[in-house]
Symmetry: D2
Amino acid sequence: MLGASWRMSPVRTLFPVRPMSKAVPSEHILTVAEIEKLLEEVFPQLHHGGRTVMVEEVGPMSARLRLIAHERHLRPGGTVSGPAMFTLADVGIWVAIFSHLGPEALDAVTMNLNINFLRKPPHGDVLVECRLLKLGKRLAVGQATLFSQGAAEPVAHAVGTYSIPASRK
Amino acid sequence: MLGASWRMSPVRTLFPVRPMSKAVPSEHILTVAEIEKLLEEVFPQLHHGGRTVMVEEVGPMSARLRLIAHERHLRPGGTVSGPAMFTLADVGIWVAIFSHLGPEALDAVTMNLNINFLRKPPHGDVLVECRLLKLGKRLAVGQATLFSQGAAEPVAHAVGTYSIPASRK
Amino acid sequence: MLGASWRMSPVRTLFPVRPMSKAVPSEHILTVAEIEKLLEEVFPQLHHGGRTVMVEEVGPMSARLRLIAHERHLRPGGTVSGPAMFTLADVGIWVAIFSHLGPEALDAVTMNLNINFLRKPPHGDVLVECRLLKLGKRLAVGQATLFSQGAAEPVAHAVGTYSIPASRK
Amino acid sequence: MLGASWRMSPVRTLFPVRPMSKAVPSEHILTVAEIEKLLEEVFPQLHHGGRTVMVEEVGPMSARLRLIAHERHLRPGGTVSGPAMFTLADVGIWVAIFSHLGPEALDAVTMNLNINFLRKPPHGDVLVECRLLKLGKRLAVGQATLFSQGAAEPVAHAVGTYSIPASRK
């Protein structure tokens, strides 16, 4: 279920007056619990050294995740590192994709990722709000906007293209 | 004044619950008429062979432009060409930048532009909705989402970085 | 046949000591004359208003093209425009792809293009040296380095991803 | 001194017949030992959990580094992870920059990085060959091509833009 905080999320309101894609009815989107279970099965490294990435909410063509700031993501001065932000954006878009297409899309692989670092993030959690721009059977494109907890302006922005292998069935 | 169509625009509602940047009060943003006048002065090539790009609206950290489809932007099959979409995205972000910073930012130059072509656009006008992600004194980053007139899903998406030369004053 | 100027080209020597991909023996690469003939058939717009793009040479995983500077590619100050450089990079990588895969790859479409503008090009021709980084059956990735005639340092650099539709046969 | 392996490197021969930029005479480029010492001082995290990135050689406008494959960089199936390749490309270009500009350029920060993943890398070390495309006082752009040890075709390719803060002196 999507709570009140989701209703106020920028992701959901990105294209508010446009009809949503009919491709994926929202009742077919994986729940946060289903996603977290899949992540633990196929991608235990994500939580290597302590749980660091949490899926907060998913909705039509979108997902929001949180990076819990640990010492190993930090650079001198306490700022979250570029690779940690890259990983958060990449994982976020990938989660948005397979939450819509189902577990067979867990094999989706990043083909291209373009990231802009906009501001030095302060110490603290980083949120990523992902939005799918295209969700085809073999190809998906999504964007990810990263914010420091509580801040109005994004710290980074990424766009990624993913290839979805044909089902092994 | 921003009319009804603007209120329904996805650009304006991209970050609805976050406080807007204080850097540029909306009363200091150039109007559409001021922008069009500047474009005619400094960039007459844009209208070479007939007026093709129209600024529709500007608002805090955002701008919307329209590409009026002419024969010379088309590819076989009647689709708008990649270079025409590149130009629209690039001009759109540049307009968003100088409409906030004033005429001295007309010298802003594109350093990097990353564009994803998502769907083949049908024949017809293409709209671009631009949003500034960062607006510094020397550097700005913006994104551009392109739609075919009347369509729900974007045909292309771009992110660009612009260098703003120091004022000559 | 590749002449002396080609032997001195940076493109050919990009990976000089690595064995070339076996995928496309050089005797199967289209010749410049074959490429030019195909371009005139499928993409006459390229020469709209006078011949502007010339294919100079093709070789294993590479191609070199020239943009003949016309007034309509220029910006105030006599510099070649960003969209003209975008087009040159895009056409160059596309030519490299279909010259290796044959006419059925003329349908290849640009999915993503990332371009960095490095220096203001002086008035004059612009050369593009393209190199394929991946040449699969359905997907190709190439880079394009743009130089002003006679200059040592590149004016722009682009990387593009192309989707190659399945043969209609 | 550059050894035999360097002479055979594709990086050095990228623009073999073009005059090199006069901006940085090679006698002013930091040596590998100087670079490694600086890295240990300012970026000890790079070696967190065991030494993983080695600078192999630097030359005019170029650098080559090696990622020593450790378990924590791997994905299921033994392949090097995307974030590990992103980090290698990013560090490689940054090393190329400050080895030319000196220790005051250690503060250079990544503004934009675009990465294409081309092939699944096998288990084993990954080499990155970096080449600077532009080396200004405030801005640098470089590309990074990543290879698996012993393989002819690249596993990934990246282009990055870096901002170099004004000297604090």
